[in-house]
C-alpha cells in the first residue's frame, strides 16, 4: 500500500482518543507502569480542564520531579518540569509575573510534601492563586520505592525494610490548617468525582488543593504483598468512604485502613495578589502603580 493508502486505512481503523487534543501525542507512550494511577489522574484533570472552560492558552502546568513530575511533559499546555520540590515556588514566580495565567502544580507526594513541604505550607498560608494537585502513592516511586512523608506506619519500603514507624502527614489536614481555600481528596478510582473536584479547584480563586490516592503496583504493592494494581483499585473501591466536610482529624491514612475521601474545605479569603494590591492601594493611594496592567486575578 502507498503511504497515502496506509494513512487512510489508519484513519479508518483507529479512533482518536477523546483526550488527544489535550495531550502531546508525539510524546506517547508515556513512562508510567501498567496499572499505575497517574494516567487516570491525568484523565480526570483533562476532563476538569475542559469543563472548567478556562482558556487553554492562559493555563500553565508546573511539575517537580518523579513519576508524577512527568505529567507536565505530556499535557498540551505551557508546561514546566522544574527541580525536585520546587514546583510550587516556580509556579509562584510564573503566576506573579503573569497574573492572568491559571497555574496548576501537578506533582507527587515526595515532591510536594517531602522535599517541597515548606513551599507548600507557605503557598497555602499566602493563599497564592495556584491549583495544587498531589498524586499520593505513599512512596518514592521513580527512585525505587523509598519511604515518603506519606508512607503509612508499618508499610514496607526500600528504606524502611522492617516497616515505616514515622507518623505520615495527613495532606488535607495540613493544607487546611495552612489556609488552603479548597481541599479535597479522592482515589484514582473515583474518576468522575475527582474530575468534578478538580473542576471546582481550577475555578477557585486562591490556593486549591486536591490529593489523589494512587496505586503504585510496581513498588508499593509489591513490597507490601498487596497484589496487583487491580487489587489495589478493588481495595480502594471497598475501603474508601465519601464524607464531605469530614472533621480534619478523621483523615489520617493507616496501612490498609479505610480512606476518607470527599471535599473537606471550600471557603473564601483574599489571594496573595488581592491582599497585596488592596493593602498597597490603601496605603499608597494614587502613588501605587500596578505592574503590567491590572494585577487582579482573572
Amino acid at each position: 500500500m502507498s503511504e497515502v493508502q496506509l494513512k487512510k486505512k489508519k484513519e479508518e481503523t483507529e479512533e482518536e482518543h477523546p483526550m488527544e487534543h489535550l495531550l502531546r501525542m508525539e510524546r506517547m507512550p508515556h513512562i508510567w507502569c501498567p496499572t499505575c494511577g497517574i494516567g487516570t489522574a491525568v484523565t480526570a484533570f483533562l476532563m476538569a480542564l475542559e469543563k472548567s472552560q478556562i482558556p487553554l492558552k492562559d493555563t500553565a502546568i508546573v511539575s517537580g520531579i518523579g513519576c508524577t513530575g512527568r505529567v507536565a511533559g505530556y499535557v498540551k499546555l505551557d508546561s514546566f518540569h522544574s527541580t525536585h520540590g520546587r514546583a510550587i515556588p516556580f509556579a509562584t514566580g510564573l503566576k506573579l509575573a503573569n497574573p492572568k495565567l491559571k497555574v496548576v502544580v501537578f506533582s507527587g507526594d515526595g515532591d510536594i510534601m517531602g522535599i517541597g513541604g515548606n513551599h507548600f505550607l507557605h503557598a497555602a498560608r499566602r493563599n497564592m492563586d495556584l491549583t495544587v494537585v498531589c498524586v499520593n502513592n505513599f512512596i518514592y516511586a521513580m527512585t525505587g520505592g523509598q519511604c515518603a512523608a506519606t508512607t503509612p506506619v508499618t508499610a514496607n519500603t526500600s528504606t524502611s525494610p522492617y516497616g515505616n514507624f514515622e507518623q505520615p502527614f495527613s495532606l488535607p489536614y495540613l493544607a487546611a490548617s495552612c489556609g488552603a481555600v479548597y481541599v479535597a481528596r479522592w482515589t484514582a478510582l473515583d474518576v468522575r468525582r475527582l474530575a468534578k473536584s478538580l473542576t471546582e479547584a481550577l475555578q477557585k480563586k486562591g490556593f486549591s488543593f486536591v490529593e489523589i490516592i494512587c496505586p503504585c503496583s510496581t513498588l508499593y504493592a509489591r513490597r507490601n504483598r498487596l497484589g496487583t494494581g487491580l487489587d489495589l483499585m478493588k481495595f480502594y473501591h471497598d475501603n474508601s468512604v465519601i464524607k464531605h466536610g469530614a472533621d480534619l482529624s478523621e483523615l489520617d491514612i493507616s496501612f490498609q485502613s479505610k480512606i476518607v475521601v470527599g471535599k473537606f474545605i471550600d471557603r473564601e479569603r483574599p489571594t496573595f495578589i488581592e491582599g497585596v494590591n488592596q493593602g498597597l492601594r490603601g496605603v499608597l493611594k494614587d502613588k501605587f502603580v500596578e505592574y503590567g496592567g491590572p494585577i487582579d486575578d482573572d
Binding site: 505551557d78 515556588p89 514566580g93 509575573a97 515548606n118 499608597l284 505592574y291
Partner: protein, 385 residues
C-alpha cells in the same frame, strides 16, 4: 531600547552599594524580585520592596533561598525580568536552581553580596570566597556570566549590564559584590533614562507551528516566548531536544550541553570588561576585584613612588575569565600580584592564564576585614625582583 524614565531615579544620590544595585535593577527593567533576608544583602530587597509599588513590579519574600531562585526562573518564563539577592549561605542553597536557569535558558540576575565563610561565617563582615562557587557551584557543565563592582556607582551600572547580558545570552548573570561595596555609602550619579540602553528579551516572531523553543539562532541562543502567548511549549531541566522534550541519550546531551557552554565561550572576547591602568611597560601588575581593588591602590601608589613600575588590572566581568588579557601581560611582566579576600580562588585562574610565562604572588585574606595595604606593597616588591 531605552530605560523607562519612570523607573530611573535620575540625579546625584548618596547611596550604599546595595541600594545602588537596587536602583540599577529598577532602571534595567526588573519587575520581579523573590528573596530571602540575609546579611549583608538584605538592603537590596528592602529597597525593591519600597520602590516597586511606586513604579510597577512585585517583590515577594519567599520562605527560603531555594524557593526564591525557583520563583525567579518561573517569573522569567512568565515574562518578567527577574532577580534574587543573597549572600554566601543563601547562594549555596540557590545553586540547584541556578543550574535550572542555565538548562532552561532563563535570563535572570543573582546578586551575591559576599561575606566571610564557610558556613554561617561572618554575617556582617566582608569576604570574596564565593568566586569559584559562582563558576562551578551548580552541578553539571554550564557557562554563565559574573560581574564584580567595586563601588556603589559601579554597582548601579553593573546591574544594568547584568540584566542586558542575561537577555543577550539567556543565562543567569551573577553579580559578585562584597559586604564592603554593599554597605559603603558614596555618591551615585544616575543619568537620564535615555542614556541607559537596555537589551530587550529575544521574543520570537514565528507562529506557534513553526517555533521550536530550543532551536538556536546563529549566535547559539534560541528565541523565547512566555507562558500565555499561546505556544504551548514544554520546558524542562532534563536534557532535551529543540522542542524542549526530554531525550535521555548521549547524543542529545552532547548537542545541548555543548551549545550551552559554547554560547558563552564563543563570545568570551566580547565578554571582557576590565579597568586597567599603567600596565603598559609595567614590571608588576596587581590583579584584584571588588573592595580589594580599592585597598590595593595605596600600596600601588607607594610602590610607584619608589620607582617600581606597577600596573593595575581589575576585571569587572570575572566570569568568563579574561585569560587572553592575562596571557598578553604575562609575556611582558615580572609578576602578577593577586589580591583577594580568600585563600586563593581567582589566583588559580591568573596562574592558569599566564601559562608559566611569569610568576604569580597571592596576597590572601580570610575575610572579615580588608587587606592591609602594607601586605600588598610587600608582595609588589617581591614580584618586582
Amino acid at each position: 531600547m531605552k530605560a523607562d524614565p519612570k523607573r530611573v531615579l535620575t540625579g546625584a544620590h548618596y547611596l550604599d552599594g546595595d541600594h545602588a544595585a537596587a536602583e540599577g535593577a529598577l532602571a534595567a527593567g526588573c519587575t520581579f524580585v523573590a528573596g530571602y533576608p540575609i546579611t549583608p544583602s538584605t538592603e537590596v530587597v528592602e529597597r525593591m520592596a519600597e520602590r516597586f509599588p511606586g513604579v510597577g513590579g512585585i517583590f515577594i519574600q519567599m520562605e527560603d533561598e531555594l524557593g526564591s531562585m525557583a520563583a525567579v526562573v518561573g517569573a522569567t518564563w512568565g515574562g518578567s525580568k527577574s532577580m534574587t539577592v543573597t549572600s554566601g549561605p543563601g547562594f549555596s542553597l540557590m545553586m540547584e536552581n541556578i543550574g535550572l536557569a542555565c538548562m532552561m535558558e532563563a535570563p535572570c540576575v543573582v546578586v551575591d553580596v559576599q561575606r566571610g565563610g564557610p558556613s554561617t561565617g561572618l554575617p556582617t563582615l566582608p569576604g570574596q570566597a564565593d568566586m569559584m562557587q559562582a563558576k562551578w557551584g551548580s552541578h553539571g557543565d554550564y557557562e554563565l556570566v559574573a560581574l564584580s563592582p567595586n563601588s556603589p556607582q559601579e554597582a548601579f551600572w553593573v546591574l544594568i549590564k547584568a540584566f542586558n547580558l542575561s537577555e543577550r545570552f539567556r543565562v543567569p548573570v551573577l553579580v559578585m559584590m562584597d559586604e564592603c561595596v554593599g554597605h559603603m555609602t558614596e555618591k551615585v550619579v544616575i543619568p537620564e533614562a535615555d542614556q541607559i540602553e537596555l537589551y530587550p528579551r529575544r521574543y520570537t516572531e514565528l507562529p506557534p507551528e513553526k517555533y521550536l523553543p530550543f532551536k538556536p539562532e546563529k549566535d547559539l541562543v534560541p528565541q523565547m516566548i512566555k507562558a500565555g502567548d499561546g505556544y504551548k511549549i514544554h520546558v524542562t531541566g532534563l536534557t532535551h531536544d529543540e522542542r524542549g522534550y526530554p531525550v535521555m541519550t548521549w547524543e542529545a546531551q552532547e548537542k545541548l550541553v555543548r551549545r550551552l557552554v559554547e554560547k558563552i565561550r564563543l563570545f568570551k572576547d566580547e565578554l571582557v570588561d576590565i579597568e586597567e591602568e599603567q600596565t603598559e611597560g609595567a614590571d608588576v601588575v596587581v590583579f584584584s576585584y571588588g573592595i580589594s581593588s580599592r585597598v590595593s591602590i595605596p600600596a600601588i601608589q607607594k610602590a610607584r613612588k619608589e620607582g617600581i613600575k606597577v600596573g593595575y588590572l581589575r576585571p569587572i566581568i570575572v566570569w568568563p575569565f579574561p585569560e587572553k588579557k592575562i596571557y598578553e601581560l604575562a609575556q611582558k611582566i615580572k609578576g602578577f600580584v593577586v589580591v583577594e579576600m580568600n585563600y586563593g580562588q581567582m589566583v588559580l585562574e591568573v596562574e592558569r592564564a599566564t601559562k608559566g610565562k611569569t610568576k604569580t604572588i597571592l596576597v590572601p585574606h580570610g575575610g572579615g576585614w580588608v587587606h592591609e595595604p602594607e601586605d600588598i606593597y610587600k608582595a609588589i616588591k617581591e614580584a618586582a625582583k
